[in-house]
Amino acid sequence: MKVRVRLFAVARELSSCDSLEIELPEGSTIGDLRAAVAKRVPAIQEILPGVMFAIGTSYASNKTPLEPDAEVACIPPVSGG
C-alpha cells in the first residue's frame, strides 16, 4: 500500500522535499513508516528518532496501524507561539 508523508520545517529543508510517497506492506504501522522514511531519505535519518508522526490531523504512536492512502505528517519538535 501507499501512504503520503508531508515534511515540515527542518525535515522539509534537509530533504529538499515537501511530501513523499512511501510503499509499505499492508498492516504496517507508524513505526514501520519511520524506518522506511529513514531508509528512503538519509538526509533526515538522524533526526527521525526525535520526530512525531500524525495521521490526518491527529498525533499517532509507533504502534498505530496505517491504512492504505493514509495522509501522514512528519512533525519535528514544535516551536510555535
Binding site: 522539509r12 533526526i47 490531523t57 510555535g80
Partner: protein
C-alpha cells in the same frame, strides 16, 4: 458540537480560519494568517456584555536570544492540523474554565521584530478564569500545535527551532 463551522481562504490562498459558535452562543475562533494580526478586531470579538475581564496574550518576536541578534522569524505550520489542534485546545479550555469568548490567532510566514506571532484573547465573567485559561492556552499551544519557527539572524543564516532535537 460546533453549531456552525466556517473556513475561508483569501485570494492569495494564505489565510485560513476556523470558527464556530458554541452551543452557549459564545464565539470560538482559531485562525492561521500570513497577515499582521488585527488586535483591535480580536479584542472586539473577545468582548461580551457578560464578561468582566478580557485577557490578551501576545507572543512577540524578541531581537536578542542568548546573545544572538534576530533579524526576523519565519513561521511554518501544518495548517489543517494546527487549526484542529487549536480548536481542541479552545474546547478543552472551555471545559476547564467558565469562559465567555476565546480566540486564538497564529501568524505564519515572515514576522518582524516586535510583531506578534500569536495572539490569544479570552473573556470571562471573573478575571481569574481569563488569566488561567490564557496562560494554559499559550503553554499548551507551544507544546502541541504543529507550528515551527525559524530564527533568521542579523549576521546572516538561520535555524529552525526544534527543542530537544539534535541538529548537528
Amino acid at each position: 458540537m460546533p453549531r456552525s463551522l466556517a473556513s475561508r481562504r483569501s485570494a492569495e490562498g494564505r489565510i485560513k480560519r476556523l470558527a464556530w459558535l458554541a452551543d452557549s452562543g459564545s464565539l470560538n475562533m482559531v485562525e492561521i494568517t500570513s497577515e499582521p494580526i488585527d488586535i483591535p478586531a480580536l479584542l472586539a470579538a473577545a468582548g461580551s456584555p457578560r464578561a468582566g475581564a478580557v485577557v490578551l496574550f501576545l507572543g512577540t518576536t524578541r531581537e536578542w536570544t542568548e546573545g544572538r541578534r534576530t533579524a526576523w522569524l519565519d513561521y511554518e505550520c501544518y495548517d489543517a492540523m494546527a487549526l484542529q489542534v487549536l480548536s481542541e485546545l479552545e474546547a478543552e479550555a472551555r471545559e476547564r474554565w467558565q469562559l465567555e469568548n476565546c480566540e486564538i490567532v497564529h501568524r505564519v510566514g515572515r514576522v518582524n521584530i516586535g510583531e506578534p506571532s500569536v495572539a490569544i484573547a479570552v473573556s470571562s465573567a471573573h478575571r481569574q478564569s481569563a488569566f488561567e485559561a490564557g496562560q494554559w492556552l499559550i503553554d499548551r499551544l507551544k507544546v502541541v500545535a504543529p507550528i515551527w519557527k525559524k530564527e533568521n539572524w542579523s549576521e546572516g543564516g538561520g535555524e529552525w527551532v526544534h527543542p530537544g532535537l539534535n541538529l548537528s
